[in-house]
Amino acid sequence: MKPNGVKRDYARKVQEGTRRYAEHQAEMVAKLEVLVASLEEERAQLDAEVKSLRAAVLSRESERSRLSVKMAEIVDENKRLSGEYVQVEQQRSSLANLYAASVRLHDSLDREEVLTAIEEIVISIIGYEEQATFALDETAGTLSRIASFGLAEDRLRSVPLGSGVIGRTAATGEAYIRDDNPDAAATDPDEAGLTACIPLKVEDKVTGVIALFSLLSHKPGIEDVDRELFELLGSQAATALHCADLHAEAARESR
């Protein structure tokens, strides 16, 4: 049996120990509560950040969709403008061709120079490798070949008015383009390969004909600008030749 004093001491120690343990527990609880509060605050902050980032992502995705649509519109517009640019450049090229042809036809009063200009226009601007220019002798009723390239010397030296496509072009004053008139294609062997025939007219009066045979091999066919050049040749080449003749006549008379 323990003496009473020892029991009292033991009880005091247990009490003290319990008290200290309780204090320690209370401290731990307090610390944990502070920690929990801190963690909850941090969690709240992170939640807010996540919410903010989600909103930013949604906003970016919306912006990306908007930009994708915008880009598709710009690509379409770019394609349209590229097409228009090509068209405009083609028109500009056509105008340059017409301008060059017109200037060349009228930059000389020498008949041979005018005939050379016609030949060069036909080769270099339209794209033919065979051509003949005829002058009409109304009295004789014939067309005489006055210039040519790519044709044999003895081919089509003279064509009666109204005969074959060339003669009919002179007689009617109507241009012939094979692609537009497949049924009226040339049947005369001398006219083999004839693809276009242009009447030369001065004030609606036929003075001759330009006959065009083979296109250059890499040229796929007659284009719109070529038709405009045919019209230009029909009027301006005729006028240029007429002026050259008048100039030569005036020069002869002044001697």
């Binding site: 500009r92 340059a96 060059a100 060349r104 226009i121 270099s124 794209g127 250059l216 890499h218």
Partner: protein
């Protein structure tokens, strides 16, 4: 300083047309009427590029091209051949003799200017 282009062609019509196109492209243009004159002017004018027709009197385009390539003063000038024959021997001969490119007659303005820009390394 605009780039200088020497156009060599015996056809005054082609010369006029090509000059018109090149001036629209803001190039300075010098002309020659045959291969001989073309080679002389290439040496005296130092063009940035030569447009060379093939069929010409006195000296054709291929012979002129070979003369340019032999001369250190002109061997590096880009040359674009202008031909009425767009395939086969004409083109092969041109490239074998050292041309940089070719265009066919009738000349397409956009194609010509694009090829010139490419040869001159322009944007």
């Amino acid at each position: 300083m605009p780039k200088k282009i020497l156009v060599v062609d015996d056809s005054r019509t082609s010369l006029f047309l090509e000059q018109t196109i090149l001036r629209k492209g803001s190039y300075q243009v010098v002309t020659a009427l045959d291969g001989e004159e073309g080679v002389r002017k290439a040496r005296s004018e130092s063009p940035d590029l030569v447009l060379m027709d093939v069929v010409m009197p006195k000296m054709d385009g291929f012979e002129a091209l070979r003369a340019l390539r032999k001369d250190p003063a002109t061997q590096n000038i880009p040359v674009i051949m202008v031909t009425t024959r767009g395939e086969g021997p004409n083109v092969e001969t041109g490239f074998a003799d050292g041309c940089n490119d070719y265009v066919t007659k009738p000349v397409d303005a956009l194609e010509l200017l694009t090829k010139i820009k490419s040869c001159l390394h322009e944007a």
